[in-house]
Amino acid sequence: MVYFILSRIARAVITVALVVTFAFVVLRLSGDPALMIMGPEAPPEVLAAFRSAWGLDLPIWQQYFSYFGAIAQGELGRSMRDGRPAIELVLERIPSTLALTLPALAMKVGIGLPAGIYAALHRGGPIDRLVMTLAVAGFTVPSFVLGLVLVLVFSVMLGWLPSGGQDSWRHAILPVLTLGIGGAAILARFTRSAMLEVLGQPYMRTALAKGVPWHVAIRSHALPNAAIPTVTIIGFMVGTLIAGAVVVESVFSWPGVGRLLVVAVANRDLAVVQCILLLVAATMVASNLLVDFLYGYLDPRLRTGARAGAH
């Protein structure tokens, strides 16, 4: 078990390091922060001063190592726009983002799981077909299209809800719906197919053959098995709590982490972009780690494998 945990953690650290490296290289190859922030008309000596102030005149490998050294000491750099610590800028946006993504996650799980289970248990019936039609529609329509359609219907045509901004809880309804509908659709489809797979397994027939009533067989034999693949998808959704709303925040002018990321990339505000990416990678990796541990809890076959690996 110790070996299992350590190996997963080591893999998580490597993943985060790779993401940060990738972001570091791509951002520096794709534009000059000095030109972006000072403007193209700025005199050359101003640009040179800006570059030397931020260490941008050093060779790229030296920048890379000093950046990693700083991260190791917990120093994530300062915004090139206003000089505030990048981490502060990012952290103050997180509550806004979570105000959208947490209710959306609840909606995904609250609708997607029961809908998928119900559809599988009534396979081929009218409700199954309805759920699957909605699910296909829900996950094929891109979120920016769905968001705009919701705005068109509920803000422009009906005038019931605001189309953007963050002044009251009513402003959150449309973005949460936009995020939640697509995720619920994905989860419903996934849960349905996981359930169908399990319902066709010989052990379900064994359970019924020994006199276990149908609903008990579903609850105590089918659901624990179907939970194993379903947990993967829910874990992925937990991983997108911070970064999953970039598009939706932009559509609804919601001042969260996603919008900060879009603005920071446009400005080549390196420290802020890297700080966000680091955070996103860390949450994604942390939720994957959580899923791995949950697997061990849900599936005894993996537990023994891990124990065997420790010897």
Binding site: Y203, T206, A209, G211, V212, S220
Partner: protein, 329 residues
Amino acid sequence: MTLVAIEGLTVDFDGVRVLHGIDLHVGKGEAVGLVGESGSGKSVTWLAALGLLPGKARVGGRVKLEGADILGAPDQTLDRIRGGRIAMIFQDPASALNPVLTIRRQIGESLALHRGLSGAAIKAEARRLLDLVGIPDAERRLSAYPHEFSGGQNQRIMIAMALAGNPDLLVADEPTTALDATIQAQILDLIRDIRRETGMALVLISHDLGVVAQTCDRVCVMYAGRIVEEAPAAVLFDDPAHPYASGLIGALPAIEGPRQRLSAIAGTVPDPRALPPGCSFGPRCLHATGACTQAPPALTTFGDGRRMACVLAKYRLEPTAIARELVDA
């Protein structure tokens, strides 16, 4: 005393008939073998009788347990019969056990459902059952999961689970097919020992004639969804009368004597969607005549406890019939 009586049992999947009216009786304590190729309807017969087929299957006919109709009975009635009166074990024990539940939980479930046990009593009884089926170190192994056992051990656990409800009949659906030859023999010995101790009846579904010959009192040979011959085991293996049954038994290699080419039955099993007219075995039969394509022959009872479905049966089994017909003519 008849324990289970199946009468005119039919099964249709998506409008295709796969079981064409099965008549089969199992007496108390009796061991009946069902043999036939894959798809001949051996397993479907018993899954249908216990209401275990998927919802799209249409089942007709009657199934009686000690005189009481159980086909289409309410779920509560069936849940008490399944596992409590008639238990079933399956071909691949590794996938027939739930991978995420402990053995104790899976055996205990039956004990709680059919014997009303709980708590410590379940644990004690589950341990006794594991001992009975020959799982060593039962105490500790109760908390293990199916993947921690071998295939043969898993089949023993399936048997322990089946015994948990004290059933009157065990339906063993190809119980040894997925196991090594040496393990097969051990499992069959175990089933025989348990029958001797409990007096439980057995239906052994198998395509292995040798397994059936050793274990069963009476054997039914199935072909394309029908019983084509039924006889006491000794009679059937010495003197199979139906051309299909004699073809099957003729295809067994002889243990003694010189090596010979095995005789095979030409052709393949017909598709249930396109059965030949009349007798389903007609196109593969060496003795087929024009009469065979008229209608499927009925399963008729003859002397020496034999039933057979073949237009030639009376000539084969009652030689005087030929003489009588000649005289009448």
